[in-house]
Amino acid sequence: MKYSYYPGCTLRTKAKKLDAYARASAKVLGFEMEEIENWQCCGGVYPLSGDEIASKLSSVRALNEAKVKGQELVTLCSACYHVVKRVNDDMRNVEDIRLRANNYMKLDEPYLGETEVLHFLEVLRDRIGFDEVKKKVVKPLTGRKIGAYYGCLLLRPSEILGFDNPENPTVMENLIRALGAEPVIYPYRNECCGGYISLKDKELSKNMCDTVMNSAESFEAEMLITACPLCQYNLTKNAQSDVPVIYFTELLAEALGVKEEVDANGSF
């Protein structure tokens, strides 16, 4: 099975691990992520204003490329997923944006939101299945207590993203279970880490990250996993906690037995 793959800017720079472990894991799980050719940065945040077109076009280009190839479009970074999927929803349902974006793009055939956008976690859950993932585990993470941190971008607005239950998500917990570890369920796993605010207001982000980390610690999480480079940065940098926060793909690669290989080849 081949998917179109949209890595996004951070996965080429500060979050190379998120990308490398995912690719290696995909190979083990029997699917391939074919990087689309001329991708550009998604912009990090979805432009909420209904009257903005230009900032949505990079997503449309990526979406259209996947459409031309007849593939589903996979992302790893929460922000890319959020932005690309919401733009896709606009292209499906918002007449004005669809019209203006297509007028600007001048594609051979107008793009009408045909592409299906999937997060890597959705591929694991809905295309591969956690039972299959479990079968491929060679180093089960038995005995480890791991918390998932979802943040905002994967879950909200659920009406459009439809990723998981926005108030009580389960996909990463099920992944943790499939890898042989014990998921730690704590209430702030869907609360914001502060996001881009940490550029100008570290204090605010720090408060939020502490709430998350303290809560996870109180439920005895030894480690947190996340899909978002910004969350990973904020939780690691801005919270006073020793609990490590790593990408979910690293955990996956570890359990599938390909982590060392990636580490040996990678230059992180």
Partner: protein, 662 residues
């Protein structure tokens, strides 16, 4: 001799403000056949009706058009008025100038223009009206009440006391409904069971009332005065005649893992059970999904211990057919599912409960024997937070659009009872508005605040976060103080919205009773006919019509009963004369009409027909006017166009079309 009279009503200023009534009168006078036209302030008033009667007599009118409000409002009034003046009541047509014109158009020129056209159409139609005679049909002196909660019980008691037979069909094993689950009732705090159980006993003992518990309505046919209903009596596996209600079977049953419906799933019950100790009838049922004997063939403990020999594993469902003159829907409500409100952690913590679950916890017969304790660890809570409007008053995609009406009051009741019995427990109520219309209701709520020290906070809760130590951190806002609050609670109670019992959809379809987008049954008129369905012979009692508390339900139940009694007291009902009729001369007996008739009202006879002197016998369609309900399906199906509907004939409707398009 043709002579049409036109009567234009001002309806005070309701019509006259946006329709130039004088102009309508002038224009009407120009229409063919019109010999009289006038306007008046209120045509439906006695003076207005007198004007109509006088004109009919003086000008010897053959038909009248009243330009007024909707025919659904006053058609009957004006028909009666015409009849009194000696005109056939079916020679009356209404032009709906209020609902369809003056109320929706703001421009007087535009409104008047439309009013003239609507009047013109009505005149064109009435020119072709023919005198019709209403037939008669009998009334079966028996009523059916669907639902055995307080609404159904009260309706049945009131009908039975008036001397008519009533059957109650209740789908659960006992009558009593939601009220049986409640601990205390507002605003008097008397015990729910103490006031309900005597009524249940009365209903069971009443010689005119017959209970079909553990039964469901399966099929309904017929019409007002003469409904035929099939009722499925589900197999109880217990012989009702033999069972003494000793309860030994329930004690001995080895399968005890089913969730008790009565205790809102907070405790377990055996496979053979009565829902609660005061159940009526006090005869258990065997839940076939739980019974080991019925599932595997091995067990039979209850049979062994039953001294009365009442257990019958071979019992089958039984379908009985019964005839009724009137049907009352009293299907009540359920609490909504809370899947979409996971921010309140209902699915994540045992200590986040609904108000109905709290009722069971506070009830002496409940899962905790009436002790207020946390379901997670049995510890007494010290801080309780109530959250109002969970799923009520929402945008369409977020929940129920309506106010559930009862939550403000029952929350005040719960808060008060807790503070009364456990003065050291802190109670906080997050509210958006406190709605307490009702006698002694606001006073009741004020007592909760002023005498019992319940902390009411204006604002909502955004999240309930279950903590590692088992407490619940409630993230709320106090809009008055302008503060975000984080309250550590050990119990959170959600005032979840109520919705009509899901079975009501199916029942409404069987009864052809209309239902709104929230699955509440529609009343015939929201103000003037609140307990009647638009479908004749079907009446509404309790929450199936809209959210209401116990006193309101009981009053509505009584009102529905008196409407039923009023119907059953009649010996004959006038039937709708607007029925289908075939032109025997042209009918060729092809059966197309009978195939589409939902009532089986069309049959075929070989008739001797005199066609311009040529006598011959041929097969023609004959409509049984007692069965025909006048839908008109057959008129369109007829390939030769000989089937017509009286009162809505092809010529009449075409005349209306022509008048509108002219």
């Amino acid at each position: 001799m043709h002579g049409i009279g036109v009567f234009v009503c001002h309806c005070g200023s309701n019509i006259a403000a946006t329709v130039d009534v004088k102009k309508v009168v002038e224009m009407a006078k120009l229409e063919p056949g019109v010999v009289h036209a006038e306007d008046y302030q209120y045509m439906c008033s006695e003076a207005g009706q007198e004007k109509i009667a006088q004109a009919i007599k003086e000008k010897n009118l053959s038909g009248i058009v009243v330009c007024s409000c909707s025919p659904r409002m006053h058609e009957a009034t004006f028909r009666k008025c015409a009849e009194k003046a000696g005109l056939n009541p079916y020679m009356v047509e209404i032009a709906n100038l209020r609902e369809q014109c003056s109320w929706i158009h703001k421009d007087i020129e535009e409104g008047t223009e439309k009013a003239v056209i609507l009047t013109r159409a009505a005149i064109a139609k009435v020119n072709l009206n023919t005198s019709l005679e209403a037939g008669e049909s009998g009334v079966i002196k028996r009523a059916l009440v669907i639902g055995g909660g307080i609404a159904g019980i009260q309706t049945a008691l009131d009908i039975a006391d008036a001397g008519y037979e009533v059957d109650i069909v209740e789908k659960t094993p006992s009558i009593g409904g939601k009220m049986a689950q409640l601990d205390k009732t507002f605003p008097t705090l008397d015990c729910s069971a103490c006031i309900l159980t005597p009524k249940m006993v009365d209903a069971a003992a009443h010689e005119k009332i017959n209970l079909y518990t553990y039964s469901e309505v399966e099929k309904v046919s017929g019409f007002v005065g003469d409904f035929t209903v099939e009722i499925r009596k589900k197999a109880r596996y217990v012989n009702m005649d033999k069972c003494t209600g000793c309860g030994v079977c329930m004690e001995k049953c080895p399968s005890k893992k089913a969730k008790s419906e009565f205790n809102s799933g907070l405790s377990n019950r055996p496979a053979i059970y009565t829902p609660f100790a005061q159940a009526i009838p006090n005869v258990p049922v065997i839940d076939p999904t739980q019974c080991i004997k019925l599932k595997t063939g091995k067990c039979g403990v209850c049979e062994k211990f039953c001294q009365a020999g009442a257990i019958d594993y071979k019992q089958k469902d039984e379908v009985i057919t019964q005839k009724y003159g009137a049907i009352v829907v009293a299907t009540g409500f359920e609490v909504i599912k809370l899947d979409n409100y996971d921010e309140y952690a209902y699915s994540q913590s045992k200590d986040v409960i609904t108000s109905l679950e709290l009722e069971r916890i506070m009830n002496a017969a409940g899962p905790t024997k009436g002790h207020l304790e946390r379901l997670s660890d049995g510890k007494p809570p010290k801080n309780i937070v109530f959250i109002q409007c969970v799923g009520s008053r929402c945008a369409e995609n977020k929940g129920k659009s309506y106010c559930s009406k009862i939550c403000c009051m029952y929350t005040a009741k719960h808060a008060m009872l807790i503070r009364d019995k456990y003065p050291d427990v802190n109670v906080t109520v997050f509210y958006i508005d406190v709605r307490t219309p009702g006698k002694n209701f606001d006073e009741f709520y004020r007592r909760a605040v002023e005498e019992y020290g319940v902390n009411y906070v204006k604002g909502q809760v955004g999240k309930v976060a279950p903590q590692a130590d088992g407490s619940l951190l409630v993230h709320g806002v106090d809009l008055i103080d302008g503060k975000q609050l984080k309250i550590s609670a050990d119990m959170v109670v959600l005032a979840a919205a109520i919705e009509p019992n899901p079975t009501v959809r199916n029942i409404a379809t069987m009864l052809t009773a209309s239902i709104d987008t929230n699955n509440f049954l529609t009343e015939a008129h929201p103000k003037l006919r609140p307990v009647e369905s638009p479908t004749a012979g079907v009446f509404l009692s309790g929450v199936c019509q809209g959210p209401k508390d116990i006193p309101e339900t009981v009053s509505q139940a009584g009102a529905a009963a008196i409407k039923v009694v009023g119907l059953l007291a009649k010996d004959k009902l006038m039937t709708n004369p607007c029925t289908a009729k075939a032109d025997e001369l042209l009918c060729n007996g092809c059966s197309a009409c009978a195939n589409v008739c939902p009532y089986g009202a069309i049959s075929y006879e070989d008739k001797l027909i005199n066609d311009h002197g040529i006598r011959k016998t041929h097969r023609v369609a004959v409509v049984n006017s007692a069965l025909c309900q006048g839908c008109g399906a057959c008129t369109v199906a007829c390939p030769s166009g000989v089937m017509d509907l009286q009162g809505f004939s092809n010529r009449q409707i075409i005349a209306e079309v022509d008048a509108i398009c002219r």
